[in-house]
Symmetry: C2
Subunit: 372 residues, 2 copies
């Protein structure tokens, strides 16, 4: 009875949390509900990075009704000073009687400490319910904190005969408007998008995200979004479309031995890294650098070289395969991935999670199931 | 009012007709209902090639109640002696008052002639309702009669990175059990399956169909099924699995200048054809030969060379793309199609008709929309 009541309100927290998608990173998405008797007296969610936490929003709405009430929240409340004061302080001050949350926050500054603090202040604490859903909700946050690298999604769009570009390297457009619009909205869920210099040179894309309908403009404007280019020899010219939108930051990773003669815009940062054994820019150095910058969710848009590199190192969490109902043919210079990776009878480490159909295209969402 | 009543019973005919799927070819699928007042007094469908036509089945069930009744049937009744006597005779003899059918039978021996015969015998005739559905139902029959070639479906199974085999040519297994079972049941809808000799050599498949549940064994045993191999140099050995099932006929097309030294089984026919300008076996000669043999529905299972050839000549009607949730990689020796065919911004002549999801695979059903 109590179990299902607690689960019911935790699921409300999940629903609220999702409203922060694309806006809170590298923080987790969090929703909170304050319940007194059988009435919800306050609710809130973390709206954007730097703004109040969900618990504080919910307590603010509850006001004095928070006294002796139960506070629900999907993740362990924080107990440290970040951009905002500790939520445990706010909970104690509001006179909350019981806290129910789903998952312990793996952030070393929290990681179960709040449980003790709350208990020491006479607050009953219950946790561990709906852990699977809670983990799925903030999968990218858990990956970021535990693996110390961004959550990584590979994405490509290919024809029904498995080509991501024609023999001349052109990939505009394999999919139709509605699928491409969906892909731009997917970018919104990420902190950064990464492509190779060839993609910039051949396709000259803008790489801008598109916010889904109904999100306040003032919140969208707070979003920090990085466009990242891997450009060993700095061949990307400053006139490229990717630099046009000054609201985004651009990072160009290049090789240590490349001389930087080009003058780029102010929002462009050039970061030299080592080359690996195969002469490619060192992926672990790049990911380390992105981790340090607080990039928790990375969208890898190709082309073949970069996608293969991530796949080869087994550093990815999700794959989005858009399939456009077109045939390109060609002598296969541009498949999504190269290199003899596995044979078809090998046990696969990926599973089909979802299939989304558009008018004339399909999106396969594929999840990695094995551990790194 | 009358319109919707007639449409209602014609749709019943469509439902009955489908029960003959995979069994009646090269005949069309036909269902028939005899209605007197507001009661269905008889119904039937063409169960298998060589057995009674739908109208005859329905009239037999109706017996004397057929007198002054209305007979519904999806296709114009036949008026010629084929494997069975003309249906027009049976309709006239039964005392039917009115005949309602959907589409004129394009077979030159019929093609509207029955309308006159029935009218001359005092029977009211109405036709042309639900023509679109009727045409879709027997699309393969109409293609066979009008284009004088089989209705052709291309089929391949590829990984999410667009490969139909690994670097060694192995393609077992890209998709999972449930998708492969579905593909074997798809074969049942066809009269013949065609592959290249490489597929036989590398994969050694049986190429047998699988009848869907609920179809009487005696009917399945009547089904004539051809396995066709394109083998320019006759390199397929008689020990191959494809020859094992003696219930199927095997046709090997080879080149005129290939000497036939191998002794194959009795159910194997070897047919020499010319080579085209590219040194491949001449496709139009092959299709002509299949047309003459009454093969109305052809399933093209690959590999790359044959699929490309059909696509290149624009001789196909449907494409089945099975996508297995696996990654093969490889330097792209085995994409589904080769040859620089179109660029992605070209207007496509194919549209996505259906998407079917299996546990870990997806099937895209794609239709050609332009005319040959």
């Amino acid at each position: 009875m109590n179990q299902s009541r607690d689960e019911f309100y935790l699921k409300k927290c999940f629903e609220l949390a999702v409203k922060g998608k694309g806006l809170v990173s590298p923080n987790p998405m969090v929703g909170s509900v304050v319940v007194k008797g059988n009435r919800v007296v306050g609710y809130g969610w973390h709206r954007a990075f730097g703004l109040a936490h969900a618990e504080v929003e919910a307590l603010k709405m509850a006001g004095t009704k928070a006294k002796n009430a139960t506070l629900y929240v999907n993740l362990e409340p924080c107990c440290h000073y970040g951009k905002t004061p500790p939520c445990t302080d706010a909970i104690i001050q509001a006179g909350i009687k019981k806290v129910v949350f789903s998952t312990i926050d793996p952030n070393p500054a929290v990681n179960g400490k709040s449980i003790e603090i709350l208990k020491q202040n006479g607050i009953e604490v219950r946790y561990g319910l709906c852990e699977k859903e809670s983990h799925q909700l903030n999968e990218s946050y858990f990956t970021f904190v535990k693996k110390k690298r961004p959550f990584i999604s590979l994405k490509w769009a290919m024809s029904i005969d498995g080509k991501i570009a024609d023999a001349c390297g052109r990939s505009r457009w394999i999919t139709s408007d509605d699928a491409r619009q969906f892909a731009r909205q997917l970018r919104f869920e990420y902190d950064a998008i990464i492509v190779g210099s060839n993609t910039i040179v051949y396709d000259n894309p803008y790489l801008d995200f598109c916010a889904p309908c109904g999100i306040r403009k003032s919140l969208v404007e707070r979003k920090k979004f990085y466009k990242i280019i891997l450009d060993t020899n700095l061949k990307v010219v400053p006139e490229s479309n990717v630099f046009l939108n000054k609201a985004s930051n651009v990072i160009i990773f290049t090789a240590h031995d490349t001389s930087i003669n080009t003058k780029y815009h102010e929002n462009v940062e050039i970061i030299p890294v080592d080359k690996d054994q195969e002469g490619l820019l060192d992926l672990s150095q790049i990911l380390n650098c992105l981790y340090e910058k607080g990039i928790a969710k990375l969208f890898v848009e190709g082309g073949t070289k970069i996608l293969t590199s991530f796949y080869h190192h087994k550093i990815f969490d999700l794959i989005y395969v858009f399939i456009g109902c077109k045939i390109i043919g060609g002598s296969a210079d541009y498949p999504p991935l190269k290199g003899n990776i596995i044979s078809p009878d090998t046990q696969s480490d990926i599973i089909l999670k979802d299939v989304i159909r558009f008018s004339n295209d399909v999106l396969l969402i594929i999840k990695k199931c094995s551990q790194e």
